[in-house]
Every structure is written in C-alpha cells, then in structure tokens.
Symmetry: C2
Subunit: 182 residues, 2 copies
Amino acid sequence: MIKRSEVRKAQARAAELLENVGIRLTDEERENIEVAELGLGELERTGLELVVYVNTDRYCAKELILFPRQTCPEHLHPPVGSDPGKMETFRCRWGQVWLYVEGDPTPAIKAHVPAGSEPYYTVFHEIELNPGDQYTIPPNTLHWFQSGDEGAIVSEFSSTSRDEFDIFTDPRIERLPQIVED
Amino acid sequence: MIKRSEVRKAQARAAELLENVGIRLTDEERENIEVAELGLGELERTGLELVVYVNTDRYCAKELILFPRQTCPEHLHPPVGSDPGKMETFRCRWGQVWLYVEGDPTPAIKAHVPAGSEPYYTVFHEIELNPGDQYTIPPNTLHWFQSGDEGAIVSEFSSTSRDEFDIFTDPRIERLPQIVED
C-alpha cells in the first residue's frame, strides 16, 4: 500500500534521474511513471520505477529506474499459455546494477540483501552491469537486482510483459500496487 | 559497394553522435556499428547506421543513427513463414526525424525525396518525431524516414529482425553491404 503523495514524489524523482541523463519523456509518460511499491512498505529499499514505452503481443520495451541501492526482489516469469515465459535483456544506461541469476553463487556479493527478507533471496550468481553492459535472462529463471550507491537506469528489451503472472519468491509481495488517495 | 575506409569513417561519426547524447557502447559494439550503405553509392544521402543490441527469435532492439538529412529508403517487412512480418516501434532520442507511412499523403512534406530516386518513394503520410516521441509501424507496411538538419538517434524496439527479407521499393537497393577492402 502506498499513498498517492508518495507515488507522486517517486515519479518526480525518477523523472529527474531520466532527465539528468538526457532520456526524454512526453508529459503523459512522466505522469504515468509506474511506481512498483510491491507491498512491503519500503519503496526506498524494495521496489522500482518503470516507464513502459511499448508492450504489444510480440515485444515490450521499458526503462527501469532504481534509486540508490533499491532492490527489485527475486522473481521469475513463468510460461503463460503458449508463451514460454518472458525473456528479457537488461542494458545498463547509467549508474551501476548487480543482477543475480541462477548458477554458481558468487562469494561475497556486492548487493546488500534487504534486512528481514533474507529467506526470500536464493540465487546469487552475480553479473555486474555498468553503462553499455547488457545481459539476457532466459524465461522461467529466478533473478533479482540492486543498483549501486548512485542508483541506475536500465533499458529492458523483452518479449511481451504480463506482470500479473510474475512469481516472487517472497509471498508477501504484491506486484500490482494498491494506491491510497491522500 | 563501400570501401572499408568509408565504413570506418561512418562508424566513428555514428559513435560520436551516440557519445554526445550519453548513449554508451562497449568497444566491441563500437567496432561493429553496421553501416547500411544500401548500394546506391551515396551513403550521406541514402543509408543509415545501426547498433544491434539484441536480436532473438522473440524480440529485437537497435539504435539507429542518421546523419543530417540521411534517408532510409522506402521498404516493408513481409511475412516470413509463420511470422506475420516485423513490427517495429521507433522512439526518437535525439534530433528530429520524419517518418512516412501508408495513408493520406501529407501536403508539402518536410523531408526531401532524394533526387533521382523519386519513382521509388510512394507513401507520404508524415509523422514527425522529436525526442520522446514514438510511433509503431505495423508489419508488411511501406515506410521510409529522413532525419532533420542535425541528424537523429532513434531507438527501435521490434519483433525479430530478418533484414535479408526486407523489400525495398527501389530495385537498385541491396540491404546487405558489399565492403571493398582498401
């Protein structure tokens, strides 16, 4: 649950980060920046901000904006009907992001697992993305990511997004936000 | 046909335009910028430069770089097997671009049809894209585009790219380049 005033504040902050790196939005896009609070009540630490440029039945493109050390928690994109599950390519545009996927755990990872949520982080194969770096995550594969101390902007190129089917490891998480007017 | 030295020059110029707007490439990407000379021997006027970020059997993402008033000539993406044809979304990042698609012809279009190639431009419904603007082109639809006086950078989000199947209105055009070492 998140208050409308907090949504507006996060939208303005995300818009400013995009503007600082020269990524232009229309007024309508700016007003519709998605603030994924995810239901834990700790947006600064767990959540992310998104601009969806296009989402058709064939492909999708988004800009992901992460505040400093903000974490998108562990989840996967399962098969849905004839779709084998969302496949996505993350390309770092600004800042730094650590992405964790299934595979050999990296010793001494650079991200900080959000305190109190340790049981819900289970994959630790680290991929560091700096501006210009990219990585493609196969469908139906657990992953999570956290930005560095400055935050990050990441372009996501993918097959069709069906966020409502995402499966999070943490059962407390709600992908679709509940906004309270204030 | 284009000389290797001309390819290198166009790659360096495209890389500089990207760098100027803060779009970062890896060294490998910079060396592999695609220079689509298209066989008319007039790259400055007819052609474009591309960085292919990812092209899978599900989606594709590219950066298109256009020099001032450079034109990507009229073509369409036909059905290929079970694929209904490439669908693509152009998002202007920098500069200005005029896109022409099928539909009511716009009177007094802003682009200059390349002299000597007039018979091969047949659609004139104009869409002007400034930074932050985007437009989605359906499959199997004729389109062409030209940048403004400064040039342009356009992100392309699309279904799978199969450039070798593109159909150009101008039969003189060769989509895949012939590079001559010099």
